[in-house]
Amino acid sequence: MNVLIIEDDKQAAGYVGKGLTESGHTVSVAHNGDDGLMMARSGNFDVLVVDRMLPDSDGLTIIKTLRQEGTNTPALVLSALSEVSHRVEGLTAGGDDYLTKPFAFTELLARLEALVRRANPEAAVKEYQVGDLHLDLLTRQVNRAGNDIDLQPREFNLLAYLMQHAGQVVTRTMLLENVWEYNFDPQTNVVDVHISRLRGKIDKDYDTSLLKTVRGAGYMLEKP
């Protein structure tokens, strides 16, 4: 994907840019709000990474301006403030996701990929298929290699989210936010335990595992 980073901290922008480039993405960087706004207007980007606090303007103002002008490139707001209210403000201003500093690069990457995918929805999905694993959103049936798998409602939602983002890293925070719809940091990794139970149901009895742990990042459901 083609990413524009609007961030005045050159070092931070450099690391993020390098990480994205090495993950196979194209990166442009703007170090101030004016340049950032000008570049973003060209509309050739799949996603924007916008720092909340820029020397010449507020990251949210840039996103608001773009939205008013009709540029709908999804954006991820980086904020040094961890206040929940600022998070919400970031979202209502037209930014599509947020991340508070300090953040893990893998979290940023995973969220950017999810944003881009969300911005380009596939036509009305009714079912997902990853390898021999099949999930039907309407009948809420799951089977692998022809064997029905019985899932709890939460496990079903968890698997559906993972399958929706098949081939992408999904972080624990993303799962909490999207499957449980809460935004908090559990001390024990509750998500890990749920994943391991899900794994027990979809992977345990089969030769190939589909649900992988990505160290230091999260999980990924992928065709073998």
Partner: protein, 466 residues
């Protein structure tokens, strides 16, 4: 002395004294003039009465008898000497106790005041020495037959004399009250300044580093004692917080040093010899995991700080604690199964309130987490949510070792871990987070004995009836 003039209390005292003095002058002045006004009116009335009486008495007889009667009258009134002068139509003296005819022309029924320069011996005999000379007269005239006129006068020397005696006394009294007022102002300023000085000196002591200094109380329970007591309380609180910040700093240093030194030695060891790419990858992945635990600690700190600053309040919304409780229980269900604990939930009554669901589920999850983490052997954990009056009460009880009463307050402090070795996982922030979540909702956290085990009571007030 310069300090005295700068003293606010002294200035108020002086201003008050000045005002008091001015109002005294006004009151005394008004009284003084009113008094003499009424006295001289009385004297005038008496003079006119006497003149009227004389006119009647003298008109009843013929002129020869008039002189006789008048002389008799004058002789009879030596104790209360008045001035009487009977003149004939030409203005010459016929009878009377003064010789000189006043130059002032007076009509009958009219009163005039004038100074009469008469130094005849006759007059000197009639009037006491101190009243003479000159005579200060208040006089009127009585017209008699054949153009005869009788001048009747009273000496108002008496009033003047009273005035002369009273005036200095009034001035002295006024001056005395002024001096007394100033003295009281100085006294009050000195006394109050001394009380304030004690507080000032104690504050300076604290500034200079004698942190244990406290304001002395006189025990009188007055407003200075009240102020001192509150200042002392404030100082106690500040030093308690300073102490806990120091404790927090020590604990943070410990908690951050461990992963940092682990990372450093891992990387140092990695640099000693050449390794395969897979080995390097493993080392880096371990390092990433260590940093993410550091990030978790920082994020928890930032979260606590931002909740404390009230940020989460913007996201308050109506919510149902029963749903949050059930979600938490569901979320922890597999965790509990793994550890062998079993959870009993009991939600009763109307559990709707206004709050931030993310913060509350964070608190609930921390409480369940602690219950699991700090009970070594699997046991029952009970999560109760109930309504008590206008409050909602969340109780999490475990059957573990509990916390001794003496350590319960400490357990709520940031970065406190009751195992001194700090070997158990966690940042020691769990309960502090619960506490700030409670506070931002206007609630409280209490630790109690679950007999056996720990009972955490989280109370949320529902002021809006929800």
């Amino acid at each position: 002395m310069r300090n005295l003039f700068r003293s606010r209390i002294f200035r108020y005292g002086v201003a008050y004294t000045g005002l008091f003095f001015l109002s005294s002058i006004l009151v005394v002045g008004v009284f003084y003039f009113a008094l003499f006004q009424s006295v001289s009116e009385k004297l005038e009335d008496r003079l006119l009465e006497e003149a009227a009486w004389l006119k009647e008495a003298l008109s009843a007889v013929d002129l020869s008898q008039t002189v006789e009667r008048l002389n008799f009258y004058i002789a009879d009134h030596t104790g209360n000497p008045g001035v009487y002068l009977l003149l004939n139509a030409q203005g010459g003296k016929v009878a009377g106790n003064i010789d000189l005819v006043p130059e002032v022309t007076i009509e009958q029924g009219q009163i005039k005041r004038f100074i009469h320069q008469d130094q005849s011996t006759e007059v000197m005999e009639v009037f006491p020495e101190e009243a003479y000379p000159p005579l200060r007269l208040m006089a009127t005239v009585v017209d008699l037959d054949q153009g005869y006129r009788l001048i009747v006068g009273h000496n108002f020397h008496d009033i003047d004399q009273i005035k002369a005696e009273v005036f200095p006394v009034v001035i002295k009294v006024l001056l005395f009250s002024l001096l007394m007022g100033l003295a009281v102002a100085v006294f009050l300023a000195r006394r109050l300044n001394r009380r304030l000085e004690i507080i000032n000196r104690s504050s300076l002591g604290i500034l200079e580093g004698r942190l244990e200094t406290r304001m002395k109380l006189t025990g009188s329970g007055d407003e200075f004692d009240h102020l001192s007591r509150n200042l002392n309380r404030m100082l106690d609180r500040i030093f308690y917080l300073m102490g806990s910040i120091k404790g927090v700093t020590d604990n943070i240093a410990h908690d951050l040093r461990s992963p940092l030194s682990r990372m450093r030695s891992r990387m140092e060891v990695a640099l000693i010899a050449d390794r395969s790419v897979d080995e390097y990858k493993d080392i880096l992945a371990d390092t990433v995991e260590d940093t993410s635990s550091l990030l978790t600690t920082f994020n928890a700190l930032l979260t606590i700080a931002s909740i404390e600053s009230g940020a989460g309040r913007d996201d308050f919304q109506p919510l149902d604690l029963a749903k949050l409780g059930a979600d938490t229980a569901e979320m922890y269900h597999p965790v509990l199964e793994e550890t062998g604990h079993w959870l009993k939930t009991d939600f009763s009554g109307d559990l709707k309130m206004t709050g931030n669901p993310n913060l509350i589920i964070q608190a609930l999850s921390n409480l369940l987490d602690n219950a699991i983490k700090y009970t070594d052997t699997p046991c029952e954990i009970v999560l109760t949510i109930r309504r008590h009056g206008t409050s909602l009460i969340v109780e999490v009880a475990d059957a573990g070792p509990g916390i001794p009463a003496a350590f319960r307050e400490k357990a709520l402090q940031r970065f406190t871990r009751l195992d001194e070795s700090r070997t158990r996982p966690g940042q020691g922030l769990g309960l502090s987070l619960v506490q700030v979540v409670a506070e931002v909702h206007g609630g409280t956290v209490r630790l109690e004995d679950a007999q056996p085990g720990l009972l955490v009571l989280l109370e949320f007030p529902c002021l809006d009836g929800h």
